[in-house]
Every structure is written in C-alpha cells, then in structure tokens.
Symmetry: C2
Subunit: 328 residues, 2 copies
C-alpha cells in the first residue's frame, strides 16, 4: 500500500514533487488542489483528480500527507497552520528570520489537532541545514560557511524585471572561488556579502530603453544588488529563451574546524549540490520527507518538526536491515 500524497498548488515546485513521486514506487499522487479553475490544469500523471481548494476538507482521512507548494511570503504562513488542523502536512517555508513564528503557529495547530507538520523542507533550509548541524556537532571548534550557486535567484530576477526598460531578466548567484578556497585552506574569515558571492544578470531590454541607465539602476539597487559585484549582459529574447530557460542551482556548506589537544589538526567537512533543476531537486527532497512525515505520524508523533527531528532511516524506503546492509 503506497503513501497517499496531495499537492496544494501546481507551480514549478509541485511539478518537481510530481516527477519525484513517479520515481518512488511507495509514494502515490492522490490529488492536486488548486485556487485556479481545476479544468485549466493538466497534470503529467494520469487519472489523478485536480480539485478546487474549496473542496479540500472533503479529502480528510483520504490523504497521508498534504504537501503545501505555495510561497513563503504570503501563502505558507496562512496555509500551513490552517491545513495542519486537518492533515499531516509538509512545507518548504524558507524565510529564515520568520521560522520561529511559523514554527510556533504550525506547532500549535498540529498539536491541537493531533497531526504531524513538517516545515522548511528542501535543500536550504533542508539538506544544507542538515549539513550544518552534523558538521557543527562533530567539529564544535570551527566555523561553517554557506555558499550558494551557481544558480538562478528568482527573487533577484524579479527585482531586475521591475527596473524600467527591462522586458525580461534572469539573475545568477555565483560563489566567489577565492572565498571558498580560503575557507577550505583553514581560514575562518568574516566575509562581506561581496566577498562571498557575485551576481550576473542577463537582461532583455524593452525597445528604446537605455542600456547604461538600466545597468546603473540594477547595480545600485539596495538589498538586491548594491552589496555585490554585478555583471549585466544585454541579450536578445531568443537567447534568453534558448540559454536561460532552466533553473539550475546548488552550493556548498563548508565547515572548517580543528581537533587535537591544542587544535593542531585541521579538519574540513564539505557538502555540495550541483543541480540542473532546483524545483525538481527540492521536490525530490520534499518527497523523501513526506515519507518520513507519514512514518513518524504512524508512530504517533504530532506537532511541528523540521529536518533536525527526522532520523535518516525514515527518509529511505528500504527496511532497516536492507539500509544497514547496503548503505551503512
């Protein structure tokens, strides 16, 4: 009997989860809920109903886990506590500073209803958080650094698109090689934002727009670009579609620490991701954690959890014996 999953929303992330479910024989996509007209949505998986969000409560008792695929800015702060009243849920809430309040709201709802809710799944927060906690735990005398990229930053792309004269834009975050090498060599520097990452923006101009003015406006945009070394490239709409349609991403969590009676030995722990498709990989991580939510829920666990609360065995479909035999 497979684990019955529902998706709330059907954007990039939900489609990534859908394709991940298809790679896992023990997982089953049971339903997709949408705020749009259900008839307008065509899934890749046959025979799975698309249902209006208004009818979601009719699915109580029919789903093992409801996977919330909305955005962290406005969707999830409302949806996760709300649906934790009725279902085991999982989300990919990624606004770091707001995690404590989100956790508290979700924990209250899920504890009260007797459901299990996991927040902040994915790869950062998610697998990168896992890398940070393992490496800090084994190397307490040390420091960790998180580098992102090379990858598309949706937030920075959106910001560049809001500049007057910009028809389309795609913004890449790129880690600075020299910074990574310094960390790997055992230095524990305090980097500025500029020293760790640079940005590269590909822009399609509106007809008649002034490239110099657009470039200047992007490069000086506070919060998004002003603190980084930024390169702006002007390209055609065709090149944008041909070369920048994918959503690659990745990065590195590097912990550099010292062991020995006097810290005389240097130890380096590094976790890296190189992803062709950010939403598909994020969806794959969420699919594995949905399995864990189902299993932990079966064991009677309720309330809100994060990746830190999930033992690795719950993520993997193999039996404990098989895990020890093939993976230990």
């Amino acid at each position: 009997m497979s684990i019955k999953l529902g998706l709330l929303g059907y954007g990039n992330l939900a489609r990534g989860i859908e394709s991940a479910i298809r790679q896992n024989p023990d997982l089953e996509l049971s339903v997709v809920f949408t705020r749009r007209d259900p008839a307008s949505i065509h899934l890749h998986t046959e025979q799975v109903p698309v249902v209006s969000i208004e009818d979601v409560l009719q699915w109580q008792g029919k789903l093992d886990v409801l996977m919330l695929c909305g955005g962290s800015a406005t969707d999830l702060p409302v949806q996760t506590p709300e649906y934790a009243k009725y279902f085991n849920v999982i989300d990919s809430f990624d606004t770091h500073p707001r995690i404590p309040e989100h956790f508290a709201a979700v924990d209250q709802a899920a504890s009260k209803s007797g459901h299990l809710a996991m927040i902040s799944g994915g790869w950062d927060p998610g697998l990168f958080s896992v890398a940070r906690i393992y490496s800090e735990s084994v190397l307490p005398q040390g420091r960790h650094y998180t580098f992102w990229g090379k990858g598309v930053s949706q937030g920075h792309s959106d910001a560049a698109r809001r500049v007057e004269g910009v028809k389309d834009a795609r913004s890449y975050t790129i880690p600075v090689d020299e910074a990574m090498e310094r960390v790997r060599a055992g230095a524990h520097p305090d980097f500025t934002a500029r020293e760790m990452h640079k940005r590269e923006v590909f822009v399609v101009l509106e007809e008649g727009a002034d490239p110099a003015k657009v470039e200047q406006e992007i490069k000086t945009m506070p919060n998004y670009y002003a603190d980084y070394d930024v390169t702006v490239h002007f390209i055609s709409e065709e090149e944008m579609q041909r070369e920048h349609a994918e959503l690659p991403h990745g990065g590195f969590v590097i912990r550099s620490g010292n062991t020995g009676l006097n810290g005389e030995h240097h130890e380096l722990v590094e976790f890296g991701l190189t992803l062709d498709s950010n939403p598909e990989f994020t969806g794959s991580v969420l699919a594995a954690y949905a399995r864990a939510v189902y299993r932990l829920g079966k064991e009677g666990k309720t309330g809100c959890i994060t990746v830190f609360d999930v033992a690795p065995k719950y993520l993997n479909p193999k039996s404990a014996e098989e895990q020890r035999h093939t993976l230990l």
Copy 2:
C-alpha cells in the same frame, strides 16, 4: 550537569575521543579502563582515574555512556555485546560484512538489559553512511560512489610491514581523479578497484634488503595490493618519522542522479572530508554520537542503533530553538 563518559582502551582512537571531549563543555571524561597496567597510562586530562578493565563493573550506574575504543577484528565483537549488559555503549565497528551479526548480538544484549547501544559510529561507517542514505533517499534514480583518501591505510601499512626486508612502511590510499570527474559529470560506470583508487607506499628497508624484491612482493600481494596501481618509494627512517608520522584521511561520497519526468535533469550530491587526523576526527564524531546515545537513552530507547536511527538534533548541544535559529 555534564554527560559522564568512560573509555575502554587508550590507543589512538581513545586519545582522539579524549581531545574531542575537551572541546565539548557538556561532555565529561569520567574514567579510562585498560587491559594494561593502569599505572603505565598517562592521560592528557587531569584528575581522571585509569582503572583496570577488571573493575569496570564497579562503575555501573556511574557512567552515562561507555565508549568502546577497541578494534573490529577481535575486541568489539566480544566487548560490545558484553558491556551492553551493564552500560549504554557506543563503538566504531567497521567490518562491513559482519555488521548484521554484530548488530544482532548487541541488540539482543542491550534489549535484554534495558540499555542503549550504538554500533559503527565514526565516518565510514558513520558520516559517509549518513551521506549515502540521505542522497539515495532524495535521488532514488541514481548511483553513489565512495572514494577514500588521500589517507593512511593502517591495514595496508601493516601488510607492507610484514614483507621480508621491510623495517617500516606507510601506505596511502589515493582516489583516482579521473574516476571522480566521470562520476561528477553524470556517468554511472562500473569501476574496477584499480580505476577508483591507487596506492602509494613509503618503505624503510632493513639493512641489506633488496629493494626490487621488496617492491615486487608488495605490488603483487593479493587482497591488499595486486588489484591496484601501486607506487613504492624507499625512504630513510628519518624521512619516515618527519614526513609520515601523521594519520591524515578523508574521502568523498558522491551521488549522481536524475530528476524530471524522463530523468532529463542531472543532480549531483557530494559529501567530502579532508582530515589531518583520522583518529581525532573519528573521536569527534563518536563524542557527538555519545551525546545522542545519552539523550536517546534518557528518552527510554533501548537495544541496538546505528547512525540511521539518530535524528540530527540529538548530536548537537544547543536547544531545539537555538538549533532552528542558528543552523536551519
């Protein structure tokens, strides 16, 4: 109140654990047990008793976790089930094919006595196993490869030392760069042993020994060297002491997988260690897992566990709130 740890044995690994304990304020070294004359052993930590192994049972109820620092060949198969009768224990049993029988013996003893026993802590098995299970779970359509080195292989060094005419030897395992690059590039080849690792041996000859004969004998030694490309260097005793006294090690777990409806996107997950001191890093991992054994034992868990059963939160001394705040 700190977590009271005992060490059984006082070799390289135990000294690595000792220095790790000194970096963790919540951990305390309470006692070291030895088969040698206790008076012959001098710890780096003051005021900690060294006690004959014969008196270990007098410490029942006084230790939170007994850490077994013996070898996998003959010590641990006997010691871990034996001491799980009286203490929560942890070991670094690393003979992969014998893990099922070791697990069964330890599980039976610990379940019966109501203690918690963790086997196979360290980095492989240990953190590398963790990397394998996480990456397989999130990328089921894929394959993982484990590369070791560059590092000292104690077993291969010992084997070379047994060759006639060899006074001392140090053997390094080195991953083959081209193999790692092929995996990173998305290939899923079936490698031979020779294609993944090479070996480099530094030898001090006995006076009058024939270098050509020694080199030939090492290179053709079955199980240890015959399946690898091996380079043998003859060096002086002084150079051996100056250049090869340390025990560096490390390696990489690389999982290369595919996502998407038709597996059209390539995703790479990589976990790497670069260690100046293998025993100190292994000791650091075991110290963090000893904390987890203590905490899980407090929660009432009994029987045998491995790294797969331990949620990351148990490894880290911070509170759950602080973990989410600083590491998520």
